[in-house]
Symmetry: C2
Subunit: 184 residues, 2 copies
DNA sequence: CGTCACATTGATGCCTCTCAAAGCTTGTGG
DNA sequence: CCACAAGCTTTGAGAGGCATCAATGTGACG
């Protein structure tokens, strides 16, 4: 899909990887977003007439297309479906903010720990879905850095490892009544 | 606002800075998002009954509140307003993705250059709104790093500086004339 | 049993952060 | 108009940490 083309609709990526990029006025190339499986993209095409970026498949990829006219009509006619789209966007936005904030953390061990905390469902155990290498790219680290970070955290007894499972060691002292404090 | 409280609605920050954070099951603290002026936040409150995070004001701050019940009713009754909300979310999501991708760039000079390219309206000139220090925080760099990056880029003749203005030097082949509108 | 991908650890270098100091700009008050 | 203060800008020196390159270990699968 090319910059300036008429927008045909919204997409959902089922497999592969896409790169959304833009050619800037000075001739440079800017990557706007890397799409990963399970993501919808080009939502803005519903509100604009043309795409403002190129989309390149970095590997064989499969997508669902929601044709603009159909989707628009459906959304207009059926408020519930629009409500659902909105809720999905809000969720995506929230997820994006989480990832952004995670990336603000420079220290690899800290970043990994926060990542695990975000996924903590209360059990404190995180079963790595997929390989650690994938987790590394998700975290924006090289796999070596991730391995070292995990080793460091384990050495500091802040996590425990068991095969593919990662368990956060509670840093809550024996006082179950802990007041969150704001100071920074 | 505290974790688990009943959600009262969506907000818009007019001034100040807020930090959204969550206490994780193990007692740790995770920053989910830092809200800056001009941003809406807690959009998810429209779809959930309670907040899943604390919101702390890091300075005196002023917000608009869109009460949940009012807003929900209005959105239900008036599809156009819902459509507008949706479009705003899509825009926010896009902006977030841009910032995320920018942060993927480790090299300070490269990141600065991409930042300028993103704001290039065709003229190639970017007038720094506010101070360079602000631009630095927006870029996720220390101000020293930004100054050095700018100096480096200027030394490499990739940008030109003129007071508060920054101009991207075209990296298209040797155009003696800078044609803002270059067609290939 | 060989191959391939993941996992792990070591050594090195570069780059950004940090701390520090000096120049520069702006506004305020005497 | 000048003096002073406060904040932005710029450059320097040093340190720490992640990326990179490299080598070895480990597990799955044919």
């Amino acid at each position: 899909m090319r910059q300036g083309e008429k927008s045909v609709g919204m997409f959902f990526l089922t497999s592969g990887r896409l790169r959304m990029q833009r050619v800037t006025p000075d001739g440079g190339m800017v990557t706007l977003h890397v799409v990963r499986p399970g993501e919808t993209f080009a939502e803005a095409s519903l509100f604009a007439d043309s795409y403002q970026c190129d989309i390149i498949a970095e590997s064989d990829a499969a997508v669902w297309l929601y044709p603009k006219v159909d989707l628009t009509r459906r959304l207009r006619e059926n408020p519930d479906s629009l409500w659902e789209l909105t809720s999905g966007l809000a969720r995506s936005l929230h997820g994006m903010r989480l990832r952004y904030e995670l990336k603000q953390i420079r220290s690899a061990p800290e970043r990994v720990l926060q990542y695990l905390r975000l996924r903590d469902d209360g059990t404190g155990v995180y079963h790595a879905s997929g390989t650690l290498k994938e987790m590394a790219t998700e975290l924006g680290l090289t796999h070596e850095a991730l391995y070292r970070a995990l080793a460091t955290l384990e050495r500091q007894k802040r996590i425990r490892r068991n095969g593919g499972d990662l368990q956060i060691m509670s840093n809550r002292r024996n006082d179950p009544f802990q007041t969150p404090d704001s100071a920074d």
